[in-house]
């Protein structure tokens, strides 16, 4: 009895069976809030702009959260945190897909000729679109059978594309804000991503003799 109770106390919160459904629900809240705003016409004077930008913001936030999983679980020595990584990654894709749909629909009126021209004309759109294209195979290979089919090392190599997505994403945001020389928020996201990516470089350099962590897991 005593040992069971003690174990229960020591069991971290994120191993609770409700942890994943809870995270899932929390991750849907921004979407629900924006959907409510759109239906109730509460998105301000320029609802299209508000919707597109908010979905972009949430994409960046989920990207940061996804990339934070590995450093946090390593630093805190809580390997079980990895169980949230796939869900966070898929929510990043969920928000980026909505971001693209909202832009295509509300900004470009679903005129695919105009969208193609816009991608060619505006570097920040091109970079954002490239990031989306890079994320698509990652989302498409996120389920267990895909991992098995690819083999873990190849799957791992493919999913390192997320680092390129992070760089493209921040460049997209930077360029979008560059017109107004307004870089305060860009700097916040860039700093977070720099820490998350920098930690990986540092972590690897610190233990040169060891196999990369991901491959080890396989």
């Amino acid at each position: 009895m005593v040992t069971t109770a003690a174990r229960r106390v020591r069991r971290p919160l994120w191993l609770h069976p409700a942890a994943k459904p809870l995270l899932f629900t929390l991750s849907l809240l921004p979407f629900a809030w924006l959907l409510y705003g759109a239906i109730a016409d509460k998105l301000g004077a320029n609802p299209a702009e508000h919707l597109i930008r908010s979905l972009g913001d949430w994409t960046l936030r989920f990207l940061c959260l996804t990339l934070a999983v590995t450093p946090v679980r390593t630093v805190l020595k809580q390997p079980a945190l990895a169980r949230f990584r796939r869900m966070l990654g898929l929510f990043t894709f969920f928000y980026v897909a909505l971001h693209l749909v909202a832009y295509s629909w509300f900004d470009m009126g679903l005129d695919f000729g105009d969208i193609a021209k816009d991608i060619a004309k505006r570097p920040f759109i091109l970079v954002g679109f490239a990031a989306f294209l890079l994320m698509t195979p990652l989302a498409a290979t996120s389920f267990n059978r895909a991992i098995r089919a690819l083999g873990a090392p190849r799957w791992q190599a493919l999913h390192r594309a997320i680092y390129a997505v992070a760089v493209l994403g921040i460049l997209h945001f930077f360029w979008m804000r560059a017109g107004k020389h307004n870089f305060a928020e860009v700097a916040v996201y860039a700093a977070i991503l720099a820490v998350l990516l920098g930690w990986r470089v540092w972590h690897r350099l610190r233990r040169p003799g060891r196999v990369p962590q991901g491959a080890q897991r396989a």
């Binding site: 998105l43 301000g44 004077a45 609802p47 009126g109 021209k117 816009d118 004309k121 017109g179 107004k180």
Partner: protein, 268 residues
């Protein structure tokens, strides 16, 4: 602040007027922040009384005009103008004011005065973002003399029948309806007549993106986006189709001749 019906051609579009709430909460006024919602939140600190506009430079009668004298300088007219922002959105706003030419005639420009420069207040105590590195403060805009003298160019003190809200450029601003919105300087403290083209704020910040003329022109794209269409604020919400942008914002008939023979791709 009531205004009489204007006799100036093109002075009153029949299009649906933008809601007051949208016109006063979705603003670009960087002295109060770069978000569209910032000016409405922050501009309450602006002190619009006492207010003096200094007229100087190449004029016979330079001087300082107190805001109350400016208000009485000519009869107030209502002008319902389209406003097209360089960012690709537009509104329809009923302004109160009178043609800037009334003031210009009063101060008697000299023959060598070719341009008019407008300087916005830059008071770090009441404008929290003056000092940010977004632009070179104070905000400066300018017009060619014939543009400034055009009857559509408005010296404005009010909108929607009321005194200008602070976030819309109180207590006195310029409205040039055929140019992108940033050309219409807000909260003006100085009007200077010069021989040389004034160095304007956005032109200094990015000369390849924002020219001195900045006439609304659907055929000349901003380097980073198309200017062919615009989103009319408040029009049918999320699913509204964008509108086609009109040459000189629909004022071609009135102002086209000012630019006869000019290459508008070069003089963007």
């Amino acid at each position: 602040l009531p205004g009489a019906k204007s006799a100036v051609a093109g002075a009153a579009t029949m299009e649906k007027v933008t809601e007051y709430k949208d016109a006063t909460s979705y603003n670009n006024f960087y002295e109060f922040g770069t978000d569209k919602s910032d000016p409405a939140q922050n501009a309450h600190t602006l002190k619009t009384r006492p207010w003096v506009v200094e007229v100087e430079g190449l004029v016979k009668k330079p001087g300082k005009f107190a805001i109350d004298d400016l208000l009485k300088l000519a009869p107030m007219e209502e002008r319902i103008y389209r406003l097209r922002c360089v960012e690709g959105w537009s509104m329809v706003i009923p302004w109160e004011g009178y043609s800037l030419s009334a003031l210009i005639n009063k101060v008697e420009p000299l023959g060598n005065a070719k341009f008019v420069e407008f300087v916005t207040l830059a008071d770090p105590k009441t404008m929290p973002f003056v000092g940010s590195r977004v632009l070179d403060w104070p905000y400066v805009e300018g017009l060619r003399m014939d543009e400034a003298m055009h009857p559509l160019t408005l010296l404005s003190f009010g909108m929607y029948g009321e005194v200008l809200p602070n976030q819309n450029g109180a207590p006195v601003r310029i409205v040039v309806p055929w140019k992108y919105g940033f050309k219409s300087a807000k909260s003006i403290v100085k009007i200077r007549f010069t021989e040389k083209e004034p160095p304007t704020a956005w032109n200094k910040a990015a000369a390849n993106e924002y020219g001195f003329y900045s006439n609304v022109n659907p055929n000349v794209d901003h380097p980073r986006w198309s200017q062919a269409t615009e989103r009319r604020i408040g029009e049918d919400g999320l699913f509204a189709k964008k509108r086609k942008t009109l040459m000189f914002n629909g004022y071609e008939q009135q102002v086209g001749q000012l630019y006869a023979g000019m290459d508008l791709k070069k003089n963007y």
